[in-house]
Symmetry: C2
Subunit: 290 residues, 2 copies
């Protein structure tokens, strides 16, 4: 029998992201034992019943000290506290990665909380659907063909990065690397802004006295546009605040774009409107074909 890539993995947060990571590595025979920690005993018991984790962790210090790999898959807002708790116990050969949607804030906390063990943390952002959540939603194939972005620290050794990359690749992911700043700027534009805009449209209509009548005529275009407004309010509050500066910049660029369109409307500038719509369709179609 071939030895597993990771003898022991400790996962904090056994929901969609953490649970799917565990299921995928177990399916790939890449892990000997998965130990789970979490805030809800019920979720941990469910995760054990679903074959996500082998054991529910009791003693953080003991479990963390001999782990090959730790995954932080809690909401980003809880990561600082968690890092502070595990910091004194992290083994010399233990690697750590995470599943957070923003990276600049995670990296700041890594340096603030982990001290001389920061080099063992290789930050990651798995780009996998978050409409569902919880252990029951976890799937061994969640990451298959999906992108995972690593934002390695200058302090990470090449070997540490390679090993964390391997873990995500064993889950079936397509792994790429960006700096934390690049990552946060890119995701502000293509993910955080669209979520904000979708929430904003529904909230805008929700304020109206005639909202029921309005919504009774909403159709498939509205459905698609607002699907991401069904996402977790708490998670998106945290993401927006964690990536506040890049998101604010994108929001202002977007408002400028809307003001440009408003001017075209006000002057009935048919050419300008058609040009904008045409260019958008062209770029969107080229993207969708890839």
């Amino acid at each position: 029998m071939i030895a597993p890539h990771f003898k022991k993995i400790v996962i904090f947060g056994v929901g969609l992201i953490g649970g799917s990571f565990a299921l995928a590595l177990r399916k790939a025979n890449a892990v000997g034992e998965v130990v789970g920690f979490g805030r809800s005993l019920e979720t941990l018991q469910q995760a054990q019943q679903l074959g996500i984790i082998h054991r529910i962790g009791q003693d953080i210090a003991a479990e963390v000290s001999d782990a090959d790999l730790i995954l932080l898959a809690t909401p980003v807002g809880q990561m600082a506290e968690l890092m502070a708790r595990i910091a004194p116990h992290i083994g010399n050969h233990t690697l750590i990665t995470d599943g957070g949607s923003t990276k600049g804030d995670v990296v700041r906390e890594v340096y603030a909380q982990l001290g001389n063990k920061a080099a063992q943390f290789v930050p990651a952002h798995p780009i996998a659907g978050a409409e569902q959540s919880g252990a029951a939603a976890a799937r061994a194939d969640l990451y298959v063909g999906k992108k995972v972005v690593l934002t390695p620290l200058p302090d990470n050794s090449a070997e540490s990065v390679a090993r964390v990359r391997k873990a995500w690749e064993l889950c079936g992911a397509v792994v790429s690397e960006l700096t934390p700043t690049q990552h946060d700027e890119i995701f502000a534009a293509v993910s955080h802004l669209p979520h904000l805009l979708s929430f904003a449209l529904v909230h805008d209509l929700a304020q109206r006295d005639n909202r029921d009548q309005l919504l009774s005529f909403a159709a498939s275009g509205f459905r698609d546009f607002t699907r991401i407004a069904a996402s977790s309010p708490e998670m998106w509050r945290d993401i927006c605040l964690a990536n506040r500066d890049a998101l604010q910049k994108e929001l202002q660029l977007y408002i400028a774009e809307l003001n440009q369109i408003s001017t075209a409307l006000a002057t009935s500038d048919a050419n300008q409107l058609e040009k904008i719509f045409h260019r958008a369709r062209e770029v969107r179609a080229a993207w969708a074909e890839k």
Copy 2:
């Protein structure tokens, strides 16, 4: 054999909207003969081959004079000219309806072009997907369970409205009535604005030097949000201009909403952000369950 509801229907524009109307009524055995007019002979021939129309019309004056029902299913931008051409020939018992996405502009043209025959025109807006187009996309079941909004004129007789309503109901549609102004205000909010916002986001990103890198990290949220940016630029240019005032009003309300969110971001007002997102999700979820 039961006599068909309509002995002869004339359709201008045998694409998705007009073609599906014809197919649905033929399937319901509700029409004796369907005659098609259009700008492209090729499309008309295709429509005939697909069993959408019985005949390609040659003589507008002759065909229009003894039609029971005329459907104008051309782009809204062509309707004024078309109304002017058919006006002198409309029979005394002929009813007319249309498939335009805006109604205030259509109603203005009805009064401007049809003179004393305006009372025979019962405007309609079928709310049916427009991502595909052309005769080949027409389907007998396009309207099944879909909403069709009539915006009757004060001059329409109750019988005329009932008969046009019946035609759309025979297509399987759920028919409701609004005034043209109500219609245009509602659709500015739930359809025209979202389309504008979706086009605007893609256009905003399309302007960037790093657009390829940005788009390479766009995922399912972006896909949903921008699906309607794949719509026809020409059609949406016309809709935006036809419903300019109501759309402009909605656009300004939306920009105000974004400015409110921008302030919450700038002050790191977590409560306010969560409140907005939470309310949006709640309203969106209630809508989606209906």
